[in-house]
Symmetry: C2
Subunit: 188 residues, 2 copies
């Protein structure tokens, strides 16, 4: 069967992204997506579960790169998490600013997609925390380092996708990490 | 009309909480809640919108106390947010550990309730960020301080509701804030 469906997943993702941009998320049906990709609805549901999921298939890879970098980096817990997010910025986000902006606009158009994104973020945070724990850190240090790193990433990412910006995401992450250090270390 | 419905809101909240504990969230209907409170479904929906909301009516007060403390406290942005969460711990959470644990167990029993809690947290974070911005802080400093403070609160809260703990929440918040400072300031 694979022979007549080379990369069905990639074709469905591309079709979903195109249609969400053209018509909007609400106005696109799974049948539309399957049709555009030259496949059927059954294939779509076998690969994605629901319509929202077609916009989030990159998150497993993201999680993998984060966990791998955490495992490989030798530094303090917060530095490790920042290094992981910078790796993701370099390997996954760099050179894709326009695509990322378009995807972000689609997500912001739908509370359902925002909800799915929150859940994906939760799963990603859990994966990074688990990777830190696997290095022998206790639960609360791992959680604090992960959540602070995720906060830095979110603020840097918002700056990156905002109109007019042209600083690479990895530099923005380093910059915001420095800001966070300054804010938390100030007085006591 | 108010005469025969003194504190309809409070009675419905109490009835919902009792029934969620006794039967579980899924197994409780809005009609059950209204019945237990001696009121009708229409009154419930007028006050709460949906069944989930009956478990979250405290969040408006929480938001208010946070925003007020942020406005009144004179310190660095992270310290201000920590002070606000400690105020909430003292004024709203202290002496209610058993109730909070029971409520937490109900929330953890239902993905729908977890989702509502995420949204409430989002709204709370937005309120604290807005209160910091009103003091003249820029968007990203306000966001970083709020999110870091919220992370500290979450970790302290998880420790507080965990079985066996007896350290006051406000002390745990101070303790975790110190841990976060240590993690983020270590090296660079």
């Amino acid at each position: 069967m694979a022979r007549w469906q080379p990369d069905a997943r990639g074709r469905l993702e591309a079709a979903a992204f195109e249609l969400f941009r053209e018509r909007g998320f609400e106005q696109t049906t799974v049948a539309d997506i399957a049709g555009r990709a030259g496949l059927d609805k059954r294939t779509f549901y076998r690969l994605f579960g629901d319509k929202r999921e077609a916009l989030f298939s990159g998150s497993a890879h993201l999680e993998e790169v984060l966990a791998k970098t955490v495992a490989e980096t030798d530094a303090g817990p917060f530095e490790v998490v920042i290094a992981a997010f910078r790796r993701v910025a370099e390997e996954i986000f760099a050179d894709r600013l326009e695509l990322v902006r378009a995807r972000q606009a689609i997500i912001e158009s739908s509370p359902e997609l925002q909800e799915r994104e929150l859940r994906k973020t939760g799963s990603l945070v859990a994966a990074v925390t688990a990777a830190l724990r696997a290095k022998g850190l206790d639960e609360s240090t791992a959680t604090l380092a992960t959540e602070s790193g995720a906060t830095v990433f979110r603020v840097a990412y918002a700056r990156w996708v905002a109109p007019g910006g042209d600083v690479p995401l990895t530099d923005l992450i380093a910059e915001v990490a420095t800001e966070l250090r300054a804010i938390t270390s100030a007085s006591g």
